[in-house]
Symmetry: C2
Subunit: 400 residues, 2 copies
Amino acid sequence: MSGSGTRSRSRVKEPSRHLALPSASAAAKDRVHTGYDEDPKPAGSRPTRAATMQDIADALGVSQSTVSRVLTGSPMPVPINPATRQRVVEMARQLHYRPNPLARGLRGAKTMLLGVIVREITDPFFAGAIDAISLEAGKRGYNVVLGHAHGRADEVIALRAVLETRHCDAIIIVGDTSDQPRLLKDLNETDATVVGLWQGSAFLPGMPTVNVDNRSGVMDLIDHLIGLGHRSFGFIGGYFTFAGGRELGDINEREIAFVQGLAERGIEVSPEYICDAQNNYAGGAASFAELMALPRPPTAVMASTDVLAIGALRSAHRLGLQVPEAVSVVGFDDLPLAEHTSPPLTTVRQPIAEMAASAVRAAIGDLPERGSDDSEPIIECLKPMLVIRESSGPARPRDD
Amino acid sequence: MSGSGTRSRSRVKEPSRHLALPSASAAAKDRVHTGYDEDPKPAGSRPTRAATMQDIADALGVSQSTVSRVLTGSPMPVPINPATRQRVVEMARQLHYRPNPLARGLRGAKTMLLGVIVREITDPFFAGAIDAISLEAGKRGYNVVLGHAHGRADEVIALRAVLETRHCDAIIIVGDTSDQPRLLKDLNETDATVVGLWQGSAFLPGMPTVNVDNRSGVMDLIDHLIGLGHRSFGFIGGYFTFAGGRELGDINEREIAFVQGLAERGIEVSPEYICDAQNNYAGGAASFAELMALPRPPTAVMASTDVLAIGALRSAHRLGLQVPEAVSVVGFDDLPLAEHTSPPLTTVRQPIAEMAASAVRAAIGDLPERGSDDSEPIIECLKPMLVIRESSGPARPRDD
DNA sequence: CTGAAAGCGCTAACAC
DNA sequence: GTGTTAGCGCTTTCAG
């Protein structure tokens, strides 16, 4: 059967297709003139073109659909002759066959790509987040496409790019984006599922979101500090350059929780005890110095992120201030570095892995086997955990 | 002309396609079964299906190829009636038309995706590298697909995934992979360009690679230290868990340069002065402690990465050793954190941005406008720069 | 068990 | 200027 009506659309190997096939079938008359390339191979660079199913079919004298059936995977809807199957598989390997995901995608298959939009990879916290997400995604056979916002203006563009290029089955937005109204609007025009992670309180209605319970973390910190005798506090907020000076969701929530929580404990904090800085080491250092320069500096400083806290620690060292003897410093996040600073940082640990897992689950569904469970909450809010180390200690006696 | 033979493949909106079209156009008579969408929208979940060119064409009563010509971009090979163009553009917007990259890709278009395989995103150095790469790629309209190796076994798999899913036009491999022979072999079967970044000396012959000049950096450090009077050195090498205990390319090169460079200056270092550790803060701390526990501890410790050096700094602090008075500590990389440690770290700065730019250029060619320049070297090796801060100082007088 | 045929959404060579 | 036609590589009926 390999001789006669075996083709129709079964195109023939032309000189143009640089792929050494075992044999050339006899259907040359079928061609109209594809005009597709008389071997314009530029300059001995690219290796041979990837083999297609048709190549395998032609080489074997079977139909392309048979090849497809064999190679297409397990849920064998149609029984196939073991012998044929065997030959196909063999030839596939021999030809280094690789399925073309684009073609599969066109037919409706998933791309197995998860888009992740993030503000700063360079921020150790987000780096960890990506790590966790990509690990989780990997478990489900997904790869991560990074939509990286290096600056305010770029963000929208990055996102558009990931969207325009609708390669992604789903998208996770990491970090607050309330300053990017268009971004979220755009997202709604995608057919991909969009979920938010660490969106602070700024999530979009209807968008599945997973957050940390910032208030809970801050309260733990406050109670810990108050328990140590502190009554005078400083706060370092943080923002990213391109957020237009606005604080971002989570950090903003932490600041509010700080002020409110203290108030609930009968402690008022005046505005000069609250600093804002760029969310990086230098910003934390500068703010800390500002706080210490106050007429009556606080005995405890709470930084809204570990990065800021680490900057503060450095600043204290430079100022000759012992931590925690002279001032206590606490952070938020519990970065890997937090236990290796001098002194090790008291902070609040975010359940990054769980949060990432949750977000990924919301984005691309449960592990392959399981069915979807629509009863899940749209907004999840996980509690962080207080981690007491050495940067917090008894309040030094007030001077007054 | 819009009336007669207008379709053939111009398929009709069937109930299955949930897309609300503005009007039924004159081509309605063509329809075989107009029921164009009883809006069978499942259950208020997914928004409407993305519009296709055909949808636009049908709505306007023009041919799909006309739509394609209009929407396909600038290099207008064929003149189009401004009026038609206008209507098409308008309808496209109205229908929220988004080109389907998969279909375009099938037709041979680039995916505009750059694969990046990296060992650890969590390592601040690599995080910075990704940042730089993604920035550079963005300038060319490319997005980054992360192939993340969370552990030894996974690496090959991650890579395969990125390859299997041949979405990427090119791939950059960040970090040494000589322990992954299969990986590089696999890569050769791809039709995407593969370039190596920080491959150490382990690059694959023929694969474009860009590296740092590790020897040059180490020599700078050595000379700096010798200039300060140091004669007794310790070295902290590093490896990743899954590299099977082997040191990785760059780190390995640094160790060799360390030993050789010192030898050239007439200084021999015995093996116990060379420690290996996992390349993280804890590893650096442990190795430093080991070194200090030696009968005659070195007066200067060179860590092969800043991460290790930062761990060492922490260890020194815990041991009550002043840096640099008691010991000098130097690193390699110049992480953002390096200038915010206590004391700020003397290290060697890698030209990350330039290296990333170089790699991206090698991977996806020059900026859109420019033509390709084949005269470039396959292997580039950039020189790092010594950055002297406060963690290095005069050698303390020898006890003997 | 296997082949033929119809597209997925888009580009491009060819007609009028 | 615009329509027709042929696919890109693969999945999926529908017929044998």
